[in-house]
Amino acid sequence: MRIADQQLFGLLQGRFQQISQRILLAQQQIASQKEVSRPSDDPNTFGQIISDKSDLSRAEQRIRNVEFGASRLDAADSALATVNQVLSRIKELAVQARSDTATASDRSLIAKEVRELHRQLVQVANTEVNGTSIFAGTKTDLAPFVLGPGDTVQYQGNAETQSVEVGNGQRIQITVPGNVIFTGPSMNLFDGLRDLLASLESNNGTGIETGIGDVDRALVQVAGTQGTIGALANRLESTQRSLDDVSDLIKAALSRHEDADLAKAISDLTGQQLALEATARSANRLFENSLLNFLK
């Protein structure tokens, strides 16, 4: 076999090119810290990365949804805690007023305080979060409870609820409409209070007795809603935990799919640099052996 000079040069050139390409690849991986950054790097894995990113984006959005829902339920829960306190205070006052020793003027004084508490309840029932009424069903742009003449209160919201998406086909309700809490389902709290106020002012002992029963039933109704809200909040909380887990898992998968193994990339780089040096040295030796160096 003849060895022509162009073969030697071509071989060297090819080797240098190959090694340079590998060095470039390792450097790119180290710089971007990514092993797969173009579809052709690994078409399947690239597809997997697209899926991972979509899954991750969805999981993170659902975490935001859950946080949003939790803040709405928290607001409702603390509003209902106030309702509970106010109702308890009304009951206390009504029990005082029921006493046989209470005079008509005592009862009318108590009526004044109960009326203030009644107004406070209306205010709480119209609670807004960021300009959105939370007890209006989906009529969130309205103050749902309107005070009319003679201590009457009208509900002008609707019975719809709002849900957020927390999983494939999974939704969790994040609002409870006011008609379930205040004007139903078992009793209309505001009607009961209106009647109680009338009884207090008209010095009607039997009416006050009935009113106390109404307040008790109202307390049960509110407590029932608080239970519902607590259960929804629990679901959100456990969903959040599993979404956090899912998002961690996806991040791990994504990293597995696209991240470069830095240790490997760096050792590749070092290895290739060595190869380059060795090639350069051997090239030098190769030309030392040329006949040219011996013909003087």
Partner: protein
Amino acid sequence: MSGISQLLGIGQSGIFAFQRALSVTAHNVSNVNTEGYARQEAIVSETRPQDDRPGQVGTGVQVTQIHRSFDTFVDQQLLASQEQLGRFNASHGALTLVEGLFGDSNDLGLGHDLNELFNAFQDVANNPADLPSRSVLLAKSQTLGADFNRTAATLTDQRQALDRQVADTLTEVNGLLGQIAGLNAQIAQAELSGQQANDLRDQRGRLIKDLGERIDVTTVEDRTGQLTVFAGRGQILIDKNTSYGLIGLPAGSNSGFLDVGYNPGNGAPVNISSVVGSGRLRGLLDARDQAIPRLLRSLDTLAAAVATEINRQHRLGFGLDGSTGVDFFSASGLTAGTFAVALTDPKQIAASATATGVPGNNANALAVVDLQRAAIASLAGSTFNDYYRATAADVGTAAKDAAQHVQAEELIHEQLENRWVEVSGVSLDEELVNMIKYQRAFEASSRLIVMGDELLQTILSLKR
């Protein structure tokens, strides 16, 4: 007397022959780095002997041939490899540019836009009455639209750029054909008078390889040393000293892009695009008419599906202003290039499923969100994301295949080139040895003449 002058003649023949051989060696040495140069060799043999007693006496040496070390078989294989290399390099170059459109790794591009779009729908579902959330949704939809448009425009630009390359390549091919035909004539003329046109043949070989890199050809050498060059299915590109050029034929059915036309010199040019089997032209045509249009069609399908499905659901809902039956995206056209957001008023985003549920009802927004993971009939039952993912993987596979073809072909080409150089390349060591060999022989021949002169002196001194 005649014996001595014969001696001088033999010495002279040596001096001439080895001088010639040294010239050949020098020519080799000086072309050690010339690509496509085939090593030459001075073939020497005895000159015709003289009849004498008791037998024939030699008369010296002569150079009978300047031999060109050349292996036609390897050369043909090298040409074929060059053709493949030209083809795969062209398609690889085009696909590498195309796959750059998939910026998913850096959270750019259509996949990312789709995720953002559905997230924006979720935010509207959380806060249906909130105008800023709705404006964000419109902005995200416009980003998706702009990226669809930009991708389609880039791909169309790519096709046009490839078409210009086709035109340029055709011009180059015609230039090469003219040069090869010219060399054919020179070689025939030189060899007619018994010469060997070694260097002209080297030049022609180089041009044939340049030609092969652009279009696949078959060559046949006739008895006069001229190459007949065929393209495709036997279309004659060069016949002796005449070349028949290729021209670009604009195809009306293909956006006016050029087909490869063959001009037989009489009558209308023939479209030979389909019979161009290899070379850069094949790679360019494949990328321009196959790979990129396929990707464009996939993106059109995706764009149409996104617009149609979201519109269908959106029309069922109610906007903050009570509007219903409104399209979210423009319903006309429905290609990636024309994809556009139809809504301009964020109040018209139909988040509510009921007229009475406005503004807090979000059921329709959630129904749109469900489309993100729905099996879409027009996408053969895959989700938007899966379809996009398959499209990206498809382009990736094509680009990877092309890269692997280039790598494999480069390897083959390197081996063949090695083989070619092994036969035809210059080895300096070998030439140096030859140089010493011929130099010595030259010296010895000159000694013969000196010796002949001394013999003559001796004879002349006899008569004193």
